[in-house]
């Protein structure tokens, strides 16, 4: 008798066979699950894709080159409902970021860490020491990548109006923060000095530029002063040169350095002029098809004059910078301004695109002889309204291999005071500056992420309605019970 025919031996073989089958089966299922956990798809069935990220965010997430950490503190059990509500919204949104930032290997480029500061002392310590969070702060959200980090405040995520919180703009806040911290080769913004310009460290309400500087610092922009008489050319790391309200003329060599920066280095420049002061940039402006002559824009209609003689400008043209202002009929507060208009005498240049940004009202005019009183519109010398107050001139550097290479951008405002410390937070001035900076630095895709309307579900049910509903809900079990009784009765028969 062979060994295979022995009963006990065959039983062992059978057992081992079963065990191997189980192990193989488990390995197969584990492998399938492993693959599935790294390669998956999500479909949002809700109306307006309420839980999906916007196309802009998705496009940006695809470009992330280095890992991003998002640290969120979890609210304690005793936290008020509002805090837990914020946490729920944030964690839902961050889950989408985490899932959408998967690379081909399935690993997520965005790692969201939830920290219980009472139980994870090492993480709490890191928040205080590395990210400078005050230890008693609740609801902390930090976005970090490499050495760069940014804290998101709950206020950044909520849009409020008179009725309270109206929309959740967490996506905008997170995407901008991720953009800020991952942008390793972020370029520096230079503030031109040497001609009595508004200074970035000046807190003066009228001539100070410290609010703008703080705004830029908060968004991780590096800022440096620039004196063109001391350097041979505009530094290479310049992302933008801001010339804010020069009191005296720029000298021809300075103008030439700026001209080269704009034309040869495809540079970006924001010029805020002041009426009454010569700027000395006429030749440069001529190259870029812009003209800002020595005139003052005067408003005749009371409708557009705010207190203290400032004008309210609400006449915007269609442009990415002004889109939100135009759509929402917002206005900006502008002090005395000089006209900034297209230079009709400039040579025709097809690579140049010139767009006015905003204009005064049709009842205004630009006065040339503004020192002679009384000020009156003179058809021969003055310009009739509406007068353009800001111009954008953009040069495309040509398209090679099907790629449209972005060229230089020059934005000229006829007024510098609108971004001074006291006017920057007024009206929609900050919004205009925000859009302007993002557009000029080619980050304008982020400008358009729409805040999400808060969905609130509430039923208007009275106690009686609830009792009626409860009774109606009994219909179903009642019907099933009846069916059961009928079937039992039929079977008995």
């Amino acid at each position: 008798m062979s060994r295979m025919e022995e009963f006990s031996y065959a039983r062992w073989v059978l057992r081992i066979n079963r065990l191997v089958q189980v192990i193989l089966f488990i390995s197969l299922v584990a492998a399938v699950n492993y693959i599935a956990s790294h390669n998956f798809e999500r479909v949002d069935l809700t109306r307006n894709n309420r839980y999906s990220l916007s196309a802009e965010t998705l496009a940006y997430l695809e470009q992330i080159q280095q890992p991003v950490r998002i640290i969120v503190t979890t609210p304690p059990e005793s936290a008020p409902e509002e805090m837990r509500f914020i946490f729920r919204q944030v964690s839902r949104l961050l889950r989408e970021y985490e899932l959408e930032s998967r690379t081909k290997g399935g690993e997520s480029m965005i790692d969201v860490e939830y920290v219980n500061v009472y139980r994870q002392s090492d993480k709490a310590e890191e928040l205080v020491n590395k990210f400078g969070i005050s230890p008693d702060q609740d609801n902390v959200i930090v976005v970090a990548s490499g050495d760069r980090y940014k804290q998101i405040l709950p206020l950044d995520m909520w849009k409020t109006d008179e009725g309270g919180v109206s929309a959740f703009q967490g996506e905008q806040a997170f995407t901008s923060a991720i953009l800020d911290v991952t942008n390793q080769n972020a370029k520096t913004i230079y503030h031109l000095l040497g001609h009595g310009e508004m200074r970035a460290d000046d807190v003066d309400p009228l001539r100070g530029f410290s609010r703008v500087s703080y705004y830029l610092r908060q968004r991780n922009f590096k800022q440096e002063p620039l004196d063109l008489m001391e350097v041979p050319k505009v530094p290479e790391d310049a992302g933008l040169v801001i010339i804010a309200g020069p009191q005296t003329q720029l000298l021809p060599p300075e103008q030439e350095k700026l001209r080269r920066y704009l034309t040869e280095d495809n540079g970006r420049m924001l010029v805020l002029l002041e009426p009454g002061n010569p700027h000395g940039l006429d030749d440069l402006f001529y190259d870029w098809g812009i003209m800002s002559d020595d005139m003052i824009v005067l408003e005749a209609s009371n409708e557009f004059i705010a207190s203290e003689g400032d004008s309210l400008v609400g006449n915007f043209t269609e442009h990415p910078v002004t889109k939100i202002l135009r759509d929402n009929k917002l206005k900006v507060l502008v002090g005395l301004s000089r006209p900034v208009r297209p230079d009709l005498g400039a040579p025709i240049d097809n690579s140049l695109e010139i767009t006015p940004l905003m204009a005064s009202s049709p009842n205004s005019w630009a006065e040339r002889d503004y020192l002679r009183k009384p000020l009156q519109y003179n058809e021969e010398t003055d310009l009739a309204g509406p007068i353009p107050l800001a111009m954008v001139s953009e040069r495309s550097a040509g398209s090679r291999f099907g790629l449209n290479i972005p060229g230089g951008k020059l934005v000229v405002f006829g007024n510098a005071g609108m971004f001074s410390n006291n006017r920057f937070p007024a009206a929609a001035n900050e919004t205009l500056f925000h859009n302007l900076i993002h557009w000029i630095l080619d980050q304008e895709s982020l400008v358009n992420i729409e805040p999400r309307k808060l969905e609130n579900y509430k039923l208007s049910l009275s106690r009686q309605d609830l009792i009626d509903t409860g009774l109606r809900l009994l219909i179903l079990p009642g019907a099933v019970a009846l069916l059961g009784v009928m079937i039992t009765f039929i079977r008995r028969r």
Binding site: V29, K458, L473
Partner: protein, 254 residues
Amino acid sequence: MRHFLTLFSHELRMLLIAPATYVASVLFLLLMGLIYLLVLNEAGAREADLPPSVLFFQVFWIPVFFMVPLLTMRSIAEERRLGTLETLMTTPATAIQVVLSKFLGAYVFYLMLWGLTICFPFIVAYGLPGTADRAVVLELAPMLGGYLFVALSGALYIALGIFASSLTRSQLVAGMLSFSMLFIIIISGQLLLRLPIQDYSWMTWLESPLEYIRTFKHLEDFSRGVIDSRPFVLYLSNAALLLGITTLVVESKA
């Protein structure tokens, strides 16, 4: 296939004519109706950021914990206790056909019970005066996702119950076993985070597998109307695994 159909139709027929089925259904619907009413009461009392149907599915584990063991504990354990499993195995029907017919019988009943609860929002909506309220109660995406999740996870839970039932001759033991296993797979991921551990850093390697199996995360996605492909693989492949192992157990013990 023919044998499987015979076995399956027998299972269904027994299910449909047994008074116990109707008693269980009525009790289930009364409980679910009560839960639904409480959810509506909550939605009427204060504003919530989620529609009532999402809140309704958040308590899906209550019926699962008692329904699944009750539905499955009898299936194979009873056959073994009575000795009918051996008889069944002498027929041309194979072990896998027996296991599948038991599984599908219980699963169809499970789906049927949950399916009946779809009537709740409709019954409520058509009794409500305001159309705005009606839209809140009848939001489609969360309902679709929620029921899809119940159907998917149900496949695993029922397979687990059938597996527990194949391990023992005692219905009681089978019921307790399946309850314990359900408790572990549904709640454990959630509970792990609440353990009184000072430092979690040594557990970080567990993070990603735990995230993958966390039932409530998947439920949250589905019940909001976001359909994810991972739970499909997770629940269906593991259900297949459990049914495969059950077949081997039945083969070895019959």
